[in-house]
């Protein structure tokens, strides 16, 4: 990843100070002091699309601004590789998956090829963060490593399909530590398992304030009715996000309350099932008025920002969800969220306070109707939602926890670590 100039890095720190507070950034700088000059390498499998890439795009420059030599590389694979890793993803989320020996062999072969390309960086790094199962075998392929290796699992692995987890566990067991988003996702492993929820970047194009005209533009751009309430779900076309359930909820709610629905998503380059699910969604929405199924490019961040801001309610009716960045994104824009009662959504949506947790399309329809009829509640919840995100789910908190973890790992198992001259 390209390094930024010192001045632009200083500006960046000043911008975050303005959104958070001086003491939040000062604390981060102090925590980072013992890590200055450390080589930190993040590895995942995609630069665009999905929450992991989005977080890394911001986390790396922030670490660099703090004097850490942070870098980010991706591994690349063939179609069979992504088919296999999508199978892992589904299996970790509890779906029964049979992954053939041939696919597993290809998975290991692709990792060996990537290891050859990345070897010197991986050997020299002081900290290596391996994101999700795709690059997990790299550790065993680098016996001459000198740094601490951390496996970061972004997936809801609370009830993994055992047969596949048994295979993956072999790769992740030798890591020095792992990170899960929620305690419920942690698995029995012989190393420390840190709990760090993900975050959103308040300064990114997806979350920064927008001028009114840009928000209003989405009505004409996507043929939306400015006089109808708008509910929106932004997410990849993935069955676990239950886009068909959202359409069902819309159909139920719209019988009594006029409204319109936007389903906005893009594909991730490591998700081969996206197109198939998009076709299912189009079929389900066929003939229904006021359903807008949008396939947006990976860089449509301002458009997503505007759609979320134009919405009255944000939906994230997932059946399983590692975290669901779109929930915090919606809440940051002062919108209540109706979310699936699962995984990381439970951490963000505090039932009846920042939105509603639902288990069925009927539940989502009921809560949609309620909020559209009780505008006072809708606004109260939206305000609380924004405050909750400011205090808990911004990238500054995420960065602080990564730094704490790195300081912690270099100091062994001690529960209390004094750094500097403290």
């Amino acid at each position: 990843m390209k390094k930024q100039s010192k001045k632009s890095l200083q500006n960046m720190m000043a911008e975050y100070t303005a959104v958070t507070s001086p003491n939040v950034m000062h604390q981060i700088e102090q925590l980072a002091a013992p890590l200055k000059g450390a080589k930190v390498l993040h590895i995942n499998s995609t630069k665009e699309g999905g929450g992991v890439a989005e977080i890394l795009h911001k986390l790396i420059p922030l670490k660099q601004a703090l004097g850490i030599e942070a870098d980010w590389d991706i591994i690349t694979g063939n179609q069979e590789f992504y088919q296999c890793t999508k199978g892992f993803h589904n299996a970790l989320q509890g779906m029964r998956q049979s992954i053939s020996e041939k696919l597993l062999q290809n998975y290991e072969k692709i990792n060996r090829e990537n290891e050859e390309k990345l070897r010197s960086k991986l050997q020299e790094a002081d900290f290596v963060f391996i994101h999700d199962p795709q690059p997990a075998p790299l550790l065993k392929m680098i016996p001459e490593r000198r740094g601490k290796w951390i496996w970061r699992c972004h997936i809801d692995a609370s009830k993994p399909y055992r047969q596949v987890w048994k295979y993956l566990r072999e790769w992740v067991t030798p890591y020095d530590a792992s990170i899960f988003s929620l305690p419920e996702f942690a698995q029995p492993l012989p190393h420390p398992q840190y709990i760090i929820p993900p975050s959103i970047d308040p300064l990114s194009e997806k979350n920064c304030p927008l001028p009114d005209y840009e928000i209003k533009n989405v009505y004409s751009e996507f043929n939306l009715d400015p006089d109808l309430p708008l509910i929106t779900q932004v997410s990849r076309y993935d069955r676990f996000k239950d886009p068909v359930g959202v359409i069902e909820a819309y159909k139920l709610a719209s019988k009594l309350t006029p409204l319109q629905l936007v389903l906005a998503g893009g594909g991730a380059s490591d998700d081969p099932e996206g197109e198939m699910v998009l076709n299912e969604v189009k079929e389900a929405s066929n003939g229904a008025d006021n359903i807008h199924v949008l396939l947006l490019p990976a860089d449509a961040n301002r458009t997503i920002n505007a759609l979320q801001r134009a919405s009255d309610i944000i939906l994230q009716k997932s059946i399983r969800e590692g975290f669901g960045l779109t929930v915090s994104e919606g809440m940051w824009k002062g919108k209540p969220v109706i979310g699936g009662d699962t995984g990381g959504i439970r951490l963000q949506v505090i039932n009846h306070f920042t939105g509603f947790l639902v288990r069925t399309p009927e539940g989502a329809a009921l809560r949609t109707r309620y909020l559209l009829h009780r505008r006072d509640k809708l606004e109260d919840m939206g305000m609380r939602a924004k405050r909750f995100v400011r205090e808990n789910f911004l990238i500054t908190r995420h960065l602080r926890e990564y730094l704490t973890l790195m300081v912690g790992l270099t100091n062994g198992d001690d529960e209390r670590i004094n750094v500097g001259n403290s």
């Binding site: 001086p22 003491n23 939040v24 000062h26 604390q27 102090q30 925590l31 002091a33 609370s158 899960f180 305690p183 419920e184 942690a186 029995p188 492993l189 420390p192 398992q193 840190y194 709990i195 760090i196 929820p197 951490l347 505090i350 306070f353 920042t354 609380r384 909750f388 205090e391 808990n392 789910f393 602080r400 926890e401 730094l403 704490t404 973890l405 300081v407 912690g408 001690d414 529960e415 209390r416 670590i417 004094n418 750094v419 500097g420 001259n421 403290s422």
Partner: protein, 229 residues
């Protein structure tokens, strides 16, 4: 420079420290009250600390109904309100150390088990996950010579500093109270006695760190404004 706490460090400046806390899973999870009682005896003491105090540095929404994670689980997970009430009235500073606190918790839970006709169970997705934390402490380099200097500064402190000096101190110091009070006790005479009393009488269990910061700041401000009149 050591942190100025305790009478043995009379008139040392107040050294402002900061801390960050990270949550670690212990891998111990329980489904019912019997499993909970067994696990409670075995979990690292750091886990008891985390579920009483560490929660203040985690994502919490507004005012929690109960003041520790064990009581919250008894209420929401097991639907046992009477156990939740009893657990939430276990005050950590009443015990000499974390082991004493653990023993008291075990007593309360076992008493409840003895009196229950059935073992209370939680739903499959409502297990209790025992967590612990690692706390990284660092010196901000800021020093205050006189208590009055703290008046405009407390409100500017990070929540990590407030946690360290006002919450963590209760577990760390012999007096089982906050670092500000320990420091004030080191001054000769009765000049700051009232200020110390006001700080010690503050109940920190139901407030967020930001609220605690505001309350502590107000206590300092009121004390010195009164003195100036």
């Amino acid at each position: 420079m050591p942190n100025a706490t305790g009478n043995d460090q009379k008139k040392l400046p107040f050294a402002v420290k900061d801390c960050a806390l990270i949550t670690i899973a212990t891998g111990i999870r329980v489904q019912n009250l019997k499993e909970f009682a067994v696990a409670l005896k075995d979990v690292p003491l750091g886990s008891i600390y985390h579920h009483f105090w560490g929660r203040l540095l985690r994502a919490l929404f507004d005012e929690p109904e109960y003041n520790n994670d064990f009581a919250s689980w008894a209420s929401r997970g097991l639907n046992d309100k009477s156990l939740a009430e009893q657990l939430s009235m276990v005050i950590p500073t009443d015990y000499k150390d974390m082991e004493g606190l653990r023993q008291e918790m075990v007593e309360v839970v076992e008493q409840q088990l003895d009196e229950s006709e059935f073992v209370p169970w939680a739903k499959a997705d409502q297990q209790f996950h025992f967590l612990k934390s690692q706390i990284v402490i660092f010196d901000t380099g800021i020093r205050y010579e006189h208590p009055k200097e703290l008046v405009p500064q407390i409100i500017k402190m990070s929540t990590g500093s407030i946690y360290y000096h006002f919450i963590d101190a209760r577990n760390r110091t012999e007096e089982r109270h906050d670092d500000f009070s320990s420091w004030l006790n080191g001054f000769d005479g009765d000049e700051f006695k009232e200020l110390t009393r006001n700080l010690c009488s503050m109940d920190p269990y139901f407030s967020s760190l930001k609220e605690i910061r505001l309350i502590v700041s107000n206590i300092f401000q009121t004390f010195f404004e009164k003195g100036d009149q």
